[in-house]
Symmetry: C2
Subunit: 220 residues, 2 copies
C-alpha cells in the first residue's frame, strides 16, 4: 500500500501548488487553459491558429510541456506569443510546480490568456490540476470516435472539447455522432467544437468561446 499513500501525498501537494497558481491567475484576471491531447492531435497548431486569430486584442502566453526539446516552443514564439518551454525529461505530464516555476518567467500584468500545452498523453495529465480555469481536450478525427469511451477521465474533466481535423473526416471512419454521444454520456456541459486547424473551418466558434471565457475571468 506504500505506493498508494505516496501517490496521495503527491496529488495533495500538487493540489496545494495548483491553488497558488489559480490565485495568481485570479489576481491578474488571466484566463488559464490546460490543453490536453494525444501526441499529434493538433494542440500546437490550434494554439498557432488561436494566437493568430485573437492577437493583439488578447495577449497570449504559452507554457510548452514536452518530454524533451523546444520544437513546439519555437513554433509558438514564431506565432508571436510569449512562451516558456518546460522539459519533463521523461515525465508523462506537467504538474503544478512546473507551471508555477514557468509563470515566474512571464510579465503577468501584460497577459490576458495563458495556455498550458501539456505533454502529449490522454491519460496521466488528466489527474493533475495545474490551476487552470478549464482543461481543454483535443481529439482528432484520425484517432477514431471510440476515444471518449476509452479514455473517459479526461473527457469527463474537460471544460471544452475540440474535435480537430474535420477536413480529414472523409479519409477516416470517424463517426461524429457517436463521438459526441459518448462525450455527452460523461460530460453534459462542455461545449464541443468541431473544427479544422488546417482549413480554418469551425474556428470561429472556438475563438468566440475563448473570448467570452476571457471576459468572464478578467478583473472587474
Amino acid at each position: 500500500m506504500t505506493e498508494i499513500k505516496i501517490l496521495k501525498n503527491i496529488l495533495a501537494a500538487n493540489q496545494a501548488t495548483a491553488g497558488r497558481n489559480r490565485d495568481l491567475f485570479g489576481e491578474r484576471g488571466i484566463l488559464a487553459l490546460n490543453l490536453i491531447a494525444s501526441p499529434g492531435a493538433g494542440k500546437t497548431t490550434l494554439l498557432e491558429r488561436t494566437i493568430a486569430g485573437l492577437s493583439p486584442a488578447l495577449r497570449f502566453a504559452v507554457v510548452e510541456g514536452d518530454i524533451t526539446g523546444d520544437h513546439d516552443a519555437r513554433r509558438i514564439a514564431a506565432a508571436g506569443a510569449a512562451v516558456v518551454q518546460v522539459n519533463t525529461e521523461g515525465g508523462c505530464h506537467l504538474d503544478a510546480a512546473m507551471v508555477g516555476e514557468a509563470l515566474k518567467e512571464f510579465a503577468l500584468d501584460a497577459i490576458d490568456v495563458i495556455v498550458i500545452e501539456n505533454v502529449g498523453n490522454l491519460v496521466c495529465p488528466a489527474e493533475f490540476d495545474l490551476g487552470e480555469a478549464h482543461k481543454v481536450v483535443v481529439l482528432s478525427t484520425p484517432e477514431g470516435d471510440d476515444k471518449p469511451a476509452k479514455y473517459p477521465l479526461i473527457f469527463s474533466e474537460a471544460g471544452a472539447v475540440v474535435i480537430n481535423k474535420v477536413d480529414m473526416l472523409a479519409a477516416t471512419d470517424f463517426d461524429t455522432t457517436a463521438a459526441v454521444r459518448d462525450i455527452r454520456r460523461i460530460n453534459r456541459d462542455a461545449p464541443i467544437f468541431q473544427l479544422s486547424c488546417r482549413t480554418g473551418q469551425g474556428l470561429g466558434a472556438w475563438l468566440q468561446w475563448l473570448q467570452s471565457e476571457r471576459a468572464a475571468h478578467a478583473k472587474k
Copy 2:
C-alpha cells in the same frame, strides 16, 4: 527522494516479473510482442490485419490493455484470436504482473505469437518491460513526423517501428524522410515498416518480419 526510491522498487519488481513472463514464452517457443502507440494510431487494426494475414498457420493470442471497457477485445475475438482484456482502471500502462495474470487464461501450448496491446500512450509504457521479445511502436502519419524526436524513449527501445496510415499521407504534412531520419538517430537497427492497415499497402513486409521473428523464437 522517497518517490524516486519507491519508483525504483516498482521497476525492479516489474523487471523480476517480466523475467518470469519471458521464461514462460521461451519455454513454449512463443514470440511475444509489446505493441505501443498513441491512442488511435491503429494498434488494434494492425492486429486485425496481422491475424487475418497469418492465421491459421500461426496461432495468435492477444492481451488487450485498456483503461476501461472491452471494445478492442471484442474486435480481436471477432478476428479469431484468443484474447484476454486487462482493464487498468485509470492506469497509464500495463505492467508485467498484469500480463502474468492474463497469461494464466491462455492455453499456452496452442499459441505461437502473443501480442500485448498496451494502453494508448507513447510515454509511460516505454518504461515497463513486460517480458516481450520486442516492443513494436506504431506511429500514424496524421500524428506528425516530429513524434520520434519528441518521444525518443519509446522509439529508441523499439525492436520494430510501424508507420501506419500511409494512405493518408497526401492529406497530412507528414514528411516520411524526416521521420525515418529521426528514428535512425536514436535507433540504428529496428526495421521500419511503412504501411496502411486500411488499404493493405506495405503489409507484406511486416507480416514477413513477424513470421521470421516467430521462426527465430520457436522451440528448436
